[in-house]
Amino acid sequence: MNDVSKNQPNKGRKLSRRHLLGGMAATAAAVLLKQSSGQVIQAGLAKDSLLLQDPTKVLGPLPSQLGDRSPFEQPVRKPSDTSSRTPLQDLYGTITPSDLHFERHHGGIPAIDPHKYELLIHGMVERPTVFTLADLKRFPSFSRIFFLECSGNFRSGKEQLTPQDICGLTSQSEWTGVMLATLFREVGIHPKASWFLAEGSDAAVMTRSIPVSKGMEDGMIAFAQNGEALRPAQGYPARLVLPGWEGNTNVKWIRRIEVSDQPFMTREETSKYTEQVGDKVRQFSFVMDARSVITFPTFPAVVHKGWIEIRGIAWSGRGKIARVEVSTDAGKSWQPAQLQEPVLDKAHTAFRYLWQWDGKATEIMSRAVDDTGYTQPTLEQLKEARGANMGGYHVNSIISWQIKGDGSVLLRPENIR
């Protein structure tokens, strides 16, 4: 490419690239319709549309500045007033595309100018310091793949639920940033410091207290996700990430860290994100226990007799997935699933199990075992351990799918109470 085309991509071309791209996208978007069955069809397609032509007989769009998804692929999050869920059943592998990462905000998404961004670290430190974003990026950096999961990530109660509906508040990214240990070293953290407050600059000025030990072990101030700057919904320009710990502790848009020798007992760690266990209330239950979910076949898929590759993801906030077991006979027997390498620490791990379905109604399910020896429990086991009022946090129970004789797939509903 010459310089002119680099700087002015549409100039001097007979066939405007922008025109071609725009025309292509507009045509395609206008003609793809989703039927009530969920099937995408090409309706009302103009005769001269590119889509109807033999692609080997027409010049396609030329390179552009930003890529788009195929108009045939339309994975979307499912938003509510407070969160949006990742379409787990529409994804492949283990990395969540950044624009499909789940959201949970407590005061909306703040607009922050990266040139005005500052992170203040103070309290029990020798040198209270303010870092700009540029400062943070000058430190030795670190990248790591791990999942983030909201601890309120469980729904059930009816058959017509997808993996997205049930547990779409988990997503995985490669995060890049500066290790908290590096920053604590820089400001001279007091040897007796045991907790720090992480505070966001959103409208909720959201806060959580975090043990210094976790910050030193693998906490990170991340400024990038999947190879680019954080998305605004994910904390742009910088956020706290704590591998394996409940999503709420991974404070987005972080503006302040106050180092202390006690927890601050903020609203999010007292009246929220705590769970009744027996006649007590469990607090600071940070770690996400091992869990798995089948992502295919699941509602609303319809399967056919014969070979079916059962696929899913498994993860643990305590370490690596040691194995995943699959049952195709409603939990009577369990077979080991194949894990996709690399199996990473505190990361979504893809699993698959090849199954020959005989066409008879049954139930399929998966259970994860992590490298601490923890086995994903049933909901009944959790109820037994925590009591009838356990609530909806840290519910990581086995999810079971009914395969009907006609091939339809439905969740086997359960109720927390």
Binding site: H122, A181, S194, S213, M216, R267, V281, G373
Partner: protein
């Protein structure tokens, strides 16, 4: 000493509980790694010299948190009577006329509801001040004066039957309000391994 209802007037009682709780958390914390094993600092300077020293004004402007021992509570005071009017004007549309009705978070306990409220679930009264000041009202966060927050705090504590209608809430009295739910709170007992908890 008549400020608080007697049943809940236990100066330092709450602090003692907090101390025990904090100690157990500290001990729990000690079992964790306390150094960054992932961090390879060989060849690093003692400091990179990045960032600027934070001035006292900068810290003061952002340091709005309030701890259970009262550290961080500003000057000022509030009463339930004055809080009631502010609540009606700025809070009732989301939380209901008396804090029981909703539609959003139920704030006040009632005999007819099992909802988790300030009265039956919040372990520290200081959290109420901290949260209202930083995040409420939802449509105008951070807009309340310290006095308004004290008034609202007094009103909500009184509505939950935790302090008298004439109680004055300020930096000295608020940390001494013992919340009934505080004794229920225990740190995480899950440790990985085979046990399901």
């Amino acid at each position: 000493m008549n400020i608080l209802r007697n049943a809940y007037l236990r100066p330092f009682g709450g602090c003692r509980l907090l101390l025990c709780f904090t100690l157990s958390l500290l001990l729990w914390g000690c079992n964790e790694k306390t150094t960054a094993d992932a961090l390879e600092t060989k060849g690093w300077p003692e400091q990179f010299g990045l960032g600027k020293p934070a001035t006292e004004q900068q810290v003061a402007a952002w340091d709005i948190d309030v701890r259970p021992d009262g550290k961080g509570l500003p000057a000022g005071a509030g009463t339930a009577v004055q809080g009631r009017a502010i609540y009606a004007a700025k809070c009732a549309s989301c939380h209901g006329n008396t804090g029981v009705e909703g539609p959003f978070n139920h704030l006040v306990s009632s005999d007819t509801s099992k909802a988790k409220t300030i009265g039956n679930y919040w372990p520290y009264a200081t959290t109420l001040f901290d949260y209202v000041r930083r995040a409420m009202p939802f449509n105008a966060p951070g807009s309340l004066t310290n006095a308004e927050v004290y008034h609202l705090t007094a009103y909500l504590l009184h509505a939950n039957g935790l302090v008298d209608s004439t109680s004055v809430m300020d930096a000295q009295t608020l940390p001494k309000v013992v919340m009934p739910a505080q004794q229920l709170f225990v740190p995480d007992n899950r440790t990985g391994g085979a046990q399901i908890r």
